[in-house]
């Protein structure tokens, strides 16, 4: 970490991230920790990291955290929230974790209107296991398990998680953002804050899908991967508010 970075929020431990340079996880961790700190919920926040590159998130967040088996973050978060309704619970999940093995759990947590928050990191690959195809990998994208590029006949289409969940009445706040520019990062932080606020207000299921660079597995430089999000990824995954049916909100998905 460079010294010039802004002060560490109290909700982050004094540890150095193990993520690759340019990885979106570092930024998203920091944003989440800042929001938790700013909302003053550090003493009742409980986090559920995934199996994925962020598996060790409990080494970074200075709040209570419990591990979940691969994909089961939403079920574990449900258990915590139901047992302890006054807590503020979030799962932090990658696209393999949430949109492949954990699809049932996220859909049903959303459908129950589970009052939890999901930080969904979409980097279009399986990072931790070495760059295999994820459900969110784009058409034509080459990964270690789609060496010829993703072909919808062979491998199906990339899953748009926010749109998929948006038909469920229990999901009240769904927003897609990115972390590839200062402006985008600011918007992401705002969305994370909205999502937590949704939970604090007791309004139901909230999820922020964050388009996040994985330079290592995309085999791009940091700068090029930021550009790739703008040029390619966000063309398929529309950035912005996907759904907001919270009380008092007049904004609807556009």
């Amino acid at each position: 970490m460079k010294k010039r970075k802004p002060a560490r929020p109290q909700t982050l431990k004094e540890a150095t991230f193990h993520y690759c340079p340019g990885c979106g996880h570092s930024v998203i961790h920091r944003l989440t920790a800042e929001v938790i700190h700013e909302l003053g919920i550090a003493d009742k926040a409980i986090g559920v990291p995934p199996a994925g590159c962020a598996v060790l998130a409990y080494f970074y967040f200075d709040i209570d955290m419990t591990e979940a088996p691969h994909g089961r973050g939403c079920a574990v978060a449900t258990g915590i929230k139901r047992a302890l309704p006054e807590s503020v619970v979030f799962s932090y999940q990658g696209d393999g974790d949430l949109a492949a093995i954990g699809t049932a759990e996220v859909i049903h947590a959303a459908n129950r209107g589970e009052n939890i928050t999901v930080i969904f990191v979409n980097n279009a690959v399986y990072g931790m296991t070495g760059g295999q195809m994820a459900p969110t990998s784009l058409l034509g994208m080459k990964t270690t398990t789609s060496p010829k590029g993703r072909d919808h006949v062979r491998e199906g289409y990339p899953v748009r998680v926010c749109e998929l969940l948006s038909s469920l009445d229990g999901a009240v706040y769904l927003e897609r953002t990115a972390v590839n520019s200062v402006k985008a990062i600011r918007k992401t932080k705002k969305a994370i804050r909205e999502a937590f606020q949704t939970q604090i207000n007791g309004e139901g299921f909230s999820l922020v899908e964050i388009l996040s660079p994985c330079p290592t597995n995309w085999k791009l430089s940091t700068v090029d991967s930021w550009k790739w999000i703008d040029d390619v990824m966000s063309k398929y995954y529309q950035i912005g508010l996907i759904k907001d049916t919270r009380k008092g909100s007049s904004k609807d998905a556009d």
């Binding site: 209570d64 419990t66 979940a68 574990v76 449900t78 258990g79 047992a83 807590s87």
Partner: protein
């Protein structure tokens, strides 16, 4: 102590009521026969008592909801039958490693695969060998009556908390479905009355933050973690063995059976006693830890142990290990959901017993 009158109760519901009276505040389950009555009973009772009930989207989700709720310190239960328990194994392995207490009920049915919904004991290996991946154990209690379904479920919650371990109640379709008189001899405890646990995740208020995990990448630390679990398992093996003996003293032959099979075996052994045969019964109540020493001790009388199971040779392996070669061990099994009659078992015992006598004379 509040003693209530005898009442006729279904096995599944006795488990549910025991959970309620143990202060269980969260139940997560998914429908599967022959334990639906338990899920339904919990739906009704948990809502009546203002506690948490969720019918999850799968057994996988249910066990992971258990994990989350257990991490907050809540007393929590899930239940299923054989195929559903297979799906839960992922979570059980995590619960074991993360040392999260909970009660898991398996109302066993015939297998493998979907099998059938008749009573069976085919999940003995799965239950007593950990079940999921990794080097771990769970406490396994095997009730044989509706009263015991109740009593052992209550004890299960206490053991789970005491040792921070998942406890499995291993019942079967017959025990779950049948009704028998039940006396509630216990003092019910409400979730609010339970003692606080010092390790739970409830928000880092006025204390440093905590995390609970199973991933330990450093091999030395992971080894130490496993050693610690192992020492805990040893402690349990020393302290928590349960069994029932029936005419074992001086017996030439001992039948070993648990759960439903033990009920049949008891009636068959009783018939043996009436015919002046020196046959006894030992019924393991805790399947893990298994009553090894007791069985070894009984080899001072008995030269033959016959394991009777509603499966084809699972518990018999433990019996064989327990006798340490000091006695012969045989198996009589009926798999696939068949519950044999005491008369049938009596014939089998007699045959073996007479053979032993002949050999003794020769």
């Amino acid at each position: 102590m509040k003693t209530e009158a005898k009442r006729l109760m279904r096995g599944s519901e006795a488990i549910g009521e025991a959970a309620i009276r143990s202060g269980c505040s969260c139940y997560f389950g998914y429908p599967i026969t022959p334990q639906n009555e338990l899920t339904e009973y919990m739906a009704k009772r948990m809502l009546e008592t203002g506690r948490v009930f969720i019918q999850s989207e799968s057994e996988l989700a249910a066990i992971n909801m258990v994990l989350g709720a257990a991490a907050t310190g809540a007393r929590v239960m899930t239940s299923s039958s054989s195929p559903g328990i297979t799906l839960k194994q992922e979570g059980i392995s995590f619960l074991a490693s993360m040392e999260l207490p909970c009660v898991i009920v398996n109302v066993m049915r015939g297998g493998p695969g979907l099998g059938n919904i008749a009573p069976s004991q085919s999940d003995y290996f799965q239950a007593t060998r950990g079940g999921g991946h990794g080097d771990y154990r769970t406490i396994v209690l095997a009730p044989a009556s509706v009263q015991e379904l109740f009593d052992l479920t209550r004890d299960g919650f206490d053991l789970a908390d005491e040792y921070r371990i998942p406890v499995i109640i291993l019942a079967d379709g017959m025990l779950g479905q049948m009704m028998e008189p039940l006396v509630l001899k216990d003092t019910p405890i409400a979730p609010e009355e339970l003692p606080e646990k010092p390790w739970t995740l409830r928000g880092a208020k006025d204390r440093p933050s905590r995390f609970i995990r199973s991933l330990i990448l450093d091999v030395n630390l992971e080894e130490e973690h496993n050693w610690r679990l192992y020492r805990k398992y040893q402690r349990i093996e020393r302290r928590e063995i349960r069994f029932e003996e029936y005419f074992t003293e001086g017996a030439d032959m001992i039948v070993v059976a648990y759960g439903t099979a033990a009920r049949i075996a008891k009636a068959a052994v009783k018939k043996c006693i009436e015919k002046n045969m020196r046959v006894g019964l030992i019924r393991p109540i805790s399947l893990w830890p298994f009553p090894n020493e007791k069985i070894l001790d009984l080899t001072k009388y008995a030269g033959h142990f016959m394991c009777f199971e509603m499966s084809m040779g699972q518990m018999v392996e433990d019996v064989r290990l327990a006798v340490q070669g000091k006695a012969e061990v045989s198996i009589y099994g009926r798999p696939g959901g068949v519950v044999p009659t005491p008369a049938e078992l009596f014939r089998v015992i007699s045959r073996t017993y007479n053979k032993i006598l002949r050999e003794k004379k020769a």
